[in-house]
Amino acid sequence: MNHAPQATRHDIAGNDAHATGQHHPIGVYLKVWAYLFVLSAMSYLVDYFAVQGIMRWLLIITFMLLKAGLIVAIFMHMAWERLSLVYAILVPPLCLATLVGLMLIESRYTFWTRILFLDFGG
């Protein structure tokens, strides 16, 4: 099992140059680092200026997804991995949307049960 990455026929086509290691200029990481700093600062400012309602959720989710995308794609090198690995890792978490959806329905049910039958939740 403990083998070095094998050359595949795609090495010939030259689109798998990173099989033996990641060689990117340091500048890429510094740039992403700066972006992450700015995005974090912006999501903190959402709280600092007490933005409320839909706008708050929209901004928080946007900044969160941008940060997560940058970390996974650049810091974790997902942008340069083979597609079979990328899909094997990134597709399964989509199942979680089902869990979140089901639990959201369940929590609404619990909430109204508490309101209607449990004396407004005590």
Binding site: H10, D16, F37, I60, M64, A68, T110
Partner: protein, 230 residues
């Protein structure tokens, strides 16, 4: 051989990504042949960890949207008084910046590892571990502060009782990951410094450790958004 393959590719210009996937999954015995096996295994571990943290965050969502009492305002709960002025969520913001910085130094350590720069790799990994330890220290401070204010897993003076349970479970599990990561980084860094990876010329261990460390940062991004800012 290479001549034949390249003419074949020219004859049928199928999208190379799809062809790669089909080729890998129909490959004999192993799918991730072209990837370092340790890296593939770390990714699969991280996938399972993603599900664990998602379960925590989903149960937090379920509790928060089913309570009838008001949820404590994180902005006020995690405020610190600096120079006589209460600044909302400032400790969490500093913790976020510390963890992002540690991710940045780790990414650079991986890069220097692949350049076979032993000294810089070990040094940057040490800085990463130090920033990680700082993060855990600040978390310990935060826990102490909240416990003194009467926050318990079963109740708190600010509002909904479920707040404490979610807080201690989610940040505790994350803190445990950071602590384990710091220990792992120190071990790998000392191996780098001793020239262990130069012998084989394979610095993949640094990248694999980096994957774990970036994942810890990634989880914090979601905790920060959903638990502290929402």
């Amino acid at each position: 051989m290479s001549q034949m393959l390249s003419t074949n590719a020219q004859a049928k210009p199928a999208p190379s990504g799809q062809r790669d996937i089909a080729g890998d999954w129909s490959s004999d015995q192993e799918v991730f042949k072209a990837t370092h096996w340790g890296k593939a295994m770390m990714w699969i571990f991280l996938l399972s960890d993603t599900f664990i943290f998602s379960c925590f965050l989903t149960s937090y969502m379920t509790m928060r949207s089913s309570v009838t009492e008001p949820w404590p305002n994180a902005s006020e709960v995690f405020a610190l008084t600096i120079a006589g002025q209460a600044i909302p969520l400032i400790l969490i913001a500093i913790m976020t910046f510390v963890l992002i910085s540690s991710s940045g130094t780790m990414a650079m350590a991986v890069n220097f590892g692949y350049r076979r720069d032993r000294r810089k790799t070990a040094l940057l990994m040490l800085v990463t571990a130090l920033l990680g330890a700082t993060f855990v220290g600040m978390q310990a401070f935060e826990w102490t502060k909240l416990i003194h204010e009467g926050v318990r897993p079963w109740g708190n003076p600010m509002g909904a009782a479920q707040f404490g349970a979610s807080f201690f479970m989610i940040t505790g599990f994350h803190g445990l990951h950071v602590s384990a990561g710091v220990i792992m980084l120190l071990i790998i860094a000392s191996k780098v410094a001793r020239g262990h990876y130069d012998a084989r010329g394979d610095y993949s261990a640094v990248e694999i450790a980096g994957l774990y460390w970036h994942f810890v940062d990634l989880v914090w991004v979601f905790i920060f958004a959903f638990f502290y800012l929402w």
